[in-house]
């Protein structure tokens, strides 16, 4: 089996294993949560237990399928690019609440555009300032629906 296929197969098995562990952990947690006494069918955990049980059974079948058959997933073109895009996006969505909409969006675009292969510096800066800027102008000043502002500027 070619090394790429082996890697993809491993990735598939790891994802399925993670899902299985999550489902089992959630199922076990249903026995540790305390609820008022109710007959079995009216317990708040009655329905989730059925669903989690089905999830576990399907997951085991899926895991066996992943081990037995090779996956057709596309290989990652550049690991550093995808990891950076995910990391930058996660930081970005977390910063909006505290740092406002404009500044994190601008920084996000400045980092993200080169990652997607845009090399023209002028276009990058123009896009990074113009797109969030237009949105702030539109929502804050024209539509009167304020977006979160930075604790440093209070204006955008």
């Amino acid at each position: 089996m070619p090394p790429t296929i082996t890697k993809l197969k491993q990735e598939s098995v790891i994802v399925q294993l993670l899902l299985l562990i999550t489902a089992i952990a959630l199922y076990l947690s249903t026995f540790k949560q305390g609820f008022t006494d109710a007959e079995a069918a009216q317990s708040p955990m009655f329905f989730p237990r059925i669903i989690l049980m089905l999830w576990i059974v399907l997951n085991i079948i899926g895991l066996i399928q992943s081990v037995r058959h090779s996956n057709v997933t596309n290989p990652i073109a550049s690991w550093w690019r995808i990891l950076l895009v995910i990391a930058v996006t996660c930081v970005y969505v977390n910063l909006i609440g505290s740092e406002g909409f404009f500044l994190p969006s601008m920084v996000f675009a400045l980092i993200c555009l080169p990652l997607f292969g845009i090399r023209n510096g002028v276009l990058i800066v123009l896009f990074a300032v113009a797109v969030p800027g237009v949105l702030v102008l539109l929502f804050n000043h024209m539509l009167g629906m304020p977006l979160p502002t930075s604790r440093f500027t209070h204006y955008f």
């Binding site: 069918a41 669903i51 992943s66 073109a77 996006t89 949105l135």
Partner: protein
């Protein structure tokens, strides 16, 4: 419903109504023309902005984006041989060869007229079929509703492209996510683990946008950077003359019919309809010899069918609350977010809204002709936009939209996590539509199951022995579940 028509028309003809229809259709055409965005992502991007609107304009905006994007997909398919949406893939087969012959304008003209015809007929089907279906379903109690939702859940099987097991798992994940938060009967908290932000459960919108739009950005970031394709010469749409339709009307009619029938069936979708219609055209058209080399009948077959699906797919969504495909699942989620419960009672409880939706959908399909002609020239240069700009704009718009709805940073976190998990799952071939279907239908499934168990003193079998409707629906659900499984098993055995 007819008595509500004047009020519905006054909503549609208000400044907001006209703006929504025009802007939504235009936006849909442009977004649909962008390769890779697709109807589902287009609808997901617009979704948060509808939450500031009243019910009718909000649903209208989404319908306009939906119908517009299905048509818009043909622009990229014909001009750069890359379908803007999966449902336009069959259009490439004859559209691009025709465009390469220097007839790009005429190819888009065929696509435009066929799309408008398909969409208009499907609007009529929606207007007549949905109320009839809803009227029948009005007799349903909790047990029948449970069986109906169970039948709706089986459409997870048909939307599970690739792997059935993975589709079912995604469905279970969606149902599980819907159980987080307050119990629907006792109100006690489940799976919140002390986090008060989860008391109201996961924000459906954040999950939908995360798994569809954000995960798409991550998938693009994991693929090689794409170069924009060369555009063929194009100077505007040229509508086919009446004489050119001679010998092609039968093919148009057949394609529209195929699209409508397939649209009503849950889980088949516009892409399937387009290819089935194309195959039928290739088999029966008098011009079948030219298929694949730029034959207008090929474009007509594909475009009439994929646009005819739009109205058909809305029939079970509106009348029964069962989504037909990924896009109608997102639409269903939107209706829920607006406090509208799609299903049998909708026609009686909200006739004005229903009348506005039906009349609006008809107008949207009429608008496709002038707006399509005007916007094709605008959308063509958009095809040259580098992927990076599109992807960055999608993330910024998604974040803006999610924050905007409730002003809760936790929703952004949910969107980020959903995007990352969606990316991991989609890489492994997990379809995301079942997850959304599970999340939307899950709460009703649980509630009706538990209500039914109270009514039958805990006897689950009595669900089907006491109610003939529930029995028939359960048999239908069983068949819908088993047929694809048996088919899969036979195919794998042959292989």
């Amino acid at each position: 419903m007819l008595s509500a028509l004047p009020e519905a028309i006054s909503i549609l003809l208000s400044l907001e109504g006209i703006l929504v229809l025009m802007l939504g259709t235009s936006l849909g055409i442009v977004l649909g023309a962008m390769p890779g965005i697709g109807s589902t992502v287009a609808v997901a991007i617009v979704l948060p902005f509808t939450l500031t609107m009243s019910q009718a304009p909000a649903v209208m905006l989404l319908l306009a984006v939906y119908a517009g994007s299905v048509y818009g997909g043909s622009i990229a398919a014909i001009l750069i041989n890359t379908p803007g949406t999966p449902q336009s893939a069959a259009t490439c087969l004859d559209g691009y060869p025709m465009a390469k012959r220097g007839q790009a304008g005429l190819a888009l003209g065929w696509a435009t007229v066929a799309s408008v015809c398909g969409g208009l007929v499907s609007a009529v089907v929606l207007i007549f079929a949905a109320p009839q279906l809803a009227a029948f379903a009005l007799e349903f109690g909790p047990i029948e509703t449970f069986a109906l939702i169970l039948l709706g859940m089986t459409c997870i099987v048909s939307v599970s492209t690739g792997s059935l097991i993975k589709g079912l798992m995604a469905g279970m994940l969606g149902i599980f996510l819907s159980t987080v938060g307050g119990d629907p009967i006792l109100g006690e908290m489940r799976f919140t683990f002390g986090n008060w932000q989860l008391f109201a459960g996961f924000n459906l919108l954040a999950v939908v946008i995360g798994v569809f739009a954000l995960s798409e950005v991550f998938i693009r970031a994991s693929a090689p950077i794409s170069n924009v394709s060369e555009l063929v010469t194009f100077s505007g749409i040229e509508l086919p003359r009446w004489s050119m339709w001679r010998g092609r009307l039968r093919n148009l009619g057949k394609s529209v019919l195929i699209g409508n029938v397939i649209g009503v069936l849950p889980g088949t979708g516009a892409a399937t309809a387009a290819f089935i219609s194309y195959a039928e055209g290739r088999r029966s058209s008098p011009n079948r010899a030219g298929f694949g080399d730029g034959e207008p009948d090929g474009i007509v077959s594909s475009e009439a069918a994929n646009n005819a699906v739009t109205g058909g797919a809305l029939v079970p969504t509106m009348a029964l609350g069962i989504p037909g495909d990924a896009i109608t699942a997102v639409m269903l989620a939107t209706l829920t977010l607006h406090g509208i419960t799609p299903g049998p009672n909708l026609v009686q409880e909200n006739p004005t809204l229903i009348a506005a939706i039906f009349a609006g959908f008809f107008i949207i399909n009429l608008l496709l002709l002038p707006l399509g002609m005007a916007l094709a020239r605008v959308a063509a240069p958009v095809l040259r936009i580098r992927e990076g700009f599109m992807m960055s704009a999608i993330v910024i718009l998604c974040a803006l939209g999610i924050y905007f709805v409730r002003g809760n940073p936790f929703d952004l976190l949910v969107m980020g996590c959903a995007g990352f998990i969606g990316f991991l799952l989609r890489r492994q071939g997990f379809p995301m539509a079942p997850l959304v279907i599970g999340m939307v239908l899950g709460p009703t499934l649980e509630l009706t199951l538990r209500q039914g168990l109270i009514l039958t003193d805990g006897n689950f079998l009595a669900f089907f022995t006491d109610s003939p409707i529930a029995f028939v629906l359960a048999i239908a659900a069983l068949l819908a579940l088993m047929i694809p499984i048996v088919r899969n098993f036979r195919t794998s055995k042959k292989d």
